[in-house]
């Protein structure tokens, strides 16, 4: 028959919400795999548990709100919230921390605003900020050490389950400790960079642990970029502004955390590619995305360096979520063939 000739339009929309969200989950898998490889089973268990909780609480609220349950569950957005929270929470966090964070994220910061598309804040980060503020002990001491950092092999699967669900936290004592960002920030006050980097936490720095996790999330992020699920503006602006701040204010590694640690430790890449790019709560115009990303990066640096928390992805993303509608109002692009778009808030008559 030869070539089929179909009438226009020839474009089609292959990206349903469900597919987009499934792709996001898919893109986190390398990161999750690397985390499991270096830090043990905690993250994997957390991701599975948080996903379950997210889906269950979404279903429960949908039932109460008398909305179609399977229709909304199939859009996978609750799953993404669960997966991101599972990745963000400390691997040895007790199960109730994950439970509270995930349920709060889905119920209070998403469904109470009217479900998917209506939430002004990134649900996963609201949940994270809630437990970070509420349970400081569990959120700072339950971070796993990699094999290179602790000098021993990772905690077994059964033991990890016991740590998370049965509260046998002493089992994990030898396997948990401060994150590199936390350790560097606290130690550098009294030491030089060389002595700090000689600490156990930095054993195998650039050799095993956090930097591979971040590289894996970077790879996942690049996949999302290639699939055009996210755009380049937010991650690039965020990483650039973070680097610039670090080069300008933190060039002296005897005083401040060095750039390599900023970029390849903590939740930087996860935040830049998976969290700040949330299509609902982030800025949506091209210029707006640049401003939004840059603001997130600057806040990230400011809170990490001069704030009391070692990492700040959640807070900086939430603060920029506040600003996103305002940024969007002032960065409306001109659409081709039309007059310049109105900028700013509508005037009141």
């Amino acid at each position: 028959m030869g070539l089929l000739t179909l009438s226009s339009p020839h474009t089609h929309g292959p990206n349903s919400t469900s597919k987009v969200m499934a792709n996001v989950v898919l893109a986190t898998l390398p990161g999750l795999a690397v985390m499991t490889w270096f830090f043990g089973w905690g993250s994997l268990i957390n991701v599975l548990f948080a996903s379950l909780v997210a889906l269950a609480s979404e279903a429960a609220v949908l039932l109460i709100r008398k909305r179609p349950v399977s229709f909304f569950l199939k859009d996978n957005s609750a799953l993404v919230t669960g997966v991101l929270l599972g990745l963000a929470l400390p691997p040895f966090a007790p199960f109730w921390v994950t439970l509270v964070a995930t349920a709060f994220a889905v119920v209070f910061s998403k469904q109470m605003y009217g479900g998917i598309g209506n939430n002004p804040f990134n649900p996963a980060m609201v949940g994270y900020a809630l437990v970070l503020v509420s349970f400081p002990v569990q959120m700072t001491t339950a971070w796993a050490l990699s094999t290179q950092m602790s000098g021993s092999s990772i905690l077994g699967f059964g033991d990890t389950l016991q740590v998370i669900f049965a509260g046998h936290s002493t089992l994990a004592d030898a396997y948990s400790g401060a994150t590199p960002l936390d350790a560097y920030k606290h130690l550098i006050g009294k030491n030089t960079a060389d002595t700090v980097l000689a600490e156990a936490t930095f054993n195998g720095w650039l050799n095993g642990g956090w930097e591979w996790v971040n590289m894996a999330f970077l790879a996942g992020g690049l996949y999302l970029l290639a699939r055009r699920i996210i755009t380049w503006q937010i991650p690039l602006a965020m990483l650039l502004s973070l680097s610039l701040c670090s080069l300008i204010f933190g060039w002296d590694e005897d005083m401040y955390t060095p750039l390599s640690l900023h970029l390849l430790s903590g939740a930087t890449m996860l935040g830049a590619f998976f969290i700040a790019t949330d299509p609902v709560s982030a800025s949506t115009t091209p210029t707006g995305k640049l401003i939004y990303g840059a603001g997130t990066g600057i806040l990230l640096y400011v809170i990490r360096t001069w704030g009391s928390y070692p990492d700040a992805v959640a807070f900086s993303v939430l603060l920029m979520n506040f600003a996103a509608p305002f940024i969007d109002a002032y960065t409306q692009p001109r659409s081709y063939g039309h007059q310049k778009a109105r900028r700013g808030l509508p005037e009141k008559n």
Partner: protein, 237 residues
């Protein structure tokens, strides 16, 4: 101004026009001190004393104060009652006074009190004014206590702790530990938790109001089966 019956005044204060849930007045102390039942009750009782007293006095002088200087006069009266409340608390519940700290003198800035003086007491005779003040304050106190209870349970897993600050040494045993080894849920103890709990209470009140309205409507207008053709459209909610 149409005079309201005493029953209406009471219902207004407790429910329909509740200062905390409907007027949203006095939010600062409401959100700041409702970390536990005893704090909430202490502040509620102090507010009750001030509001009843100020409505009483304002109503008495309502025909003698010129319109132009009424607000300063009201503020003077309220400030005096707050000072009295403060001294009373210092005398009888000193520890609670210490716990509540700045929020006792700050009752003077509670807009619910000035609001009632200006909106009700200066236009109404003595008895309705006193009742209005008392009922408004009672409504406020009830919300405070419920909020305090919610936050105490969520935040610390206990309820009625430290009641001895208000009710004497015997009340030590009133404390009920609901959950053993409860990890303190700081969010509920800190002000954000108060906002959230407050939002839930307001939502609950609106739901109950809606239900009551629907019931009342259903009772009021029985559907007539008969000759009329009615175009039925669904109710959009």
């Amino acid at each position: 101004m149409a005079t309201k019956s005493l029953r209406e005044i009471s219902l207004d204060g407790l429910w329909n026009n509740n200062p905390a849930l409907v007027q949203l007045l006095g939010l600062c102390p409401l959100l700041a001190v409702t970390g536990s039942v005893v704090n909430a009750l202490g502040l509620g009782l102090a507010t009750m004393m001030v509001l009843t007293g100020s409505n009483f006095s304002v109503s008495l002088i309502r025909n003698h104060v010129p319109e132009a200087v009424r607000l300063p006069a009201f503020v003077m009266i309220i400030a005096s009652f707050v000072t009295v409340a403060e001294l009373v608390m210092q005398a009888f519940t000193y520890e609670l006074y210490e716990v509540l700290g700045i929020f006792i003198p700050l009752i003077v800035t509670n807009c619910a009190i000035l609001g009632r003086a200006d909106a009700f007491a200066c236009k109404n005779p003595l008895l309705p004014s006193v009742l209005d003040g008392f009922m408004m304050a009672l409504g406020f106190t009830l919300v405070l206590v419920v909020l305090g209870g919610m936050r105490e349970i969520l935040g610390q897993g206990v309820i009625f702790s430290n009641m001895q600050l208000l009710f004497g040494a015997d009340a030590v045993h009133w404390k009920i530990e609901l959950v053993k080894d409860y990890p303190d849920f700081l969010f509920a103890i800190l002000p954000p938790g108060a906002f959230m709990a407050m939002g839930i209470l307001i939502a609950l009140k609106n739901v109950i109001d809606d239900r009551m309205k629907q019931k009342a409507e259903a009772k009021k207008a029985p559907v007539e089966a008969g000759s009329k053709r009615v175009r039925v459209t669904g109710k959009i909610s």
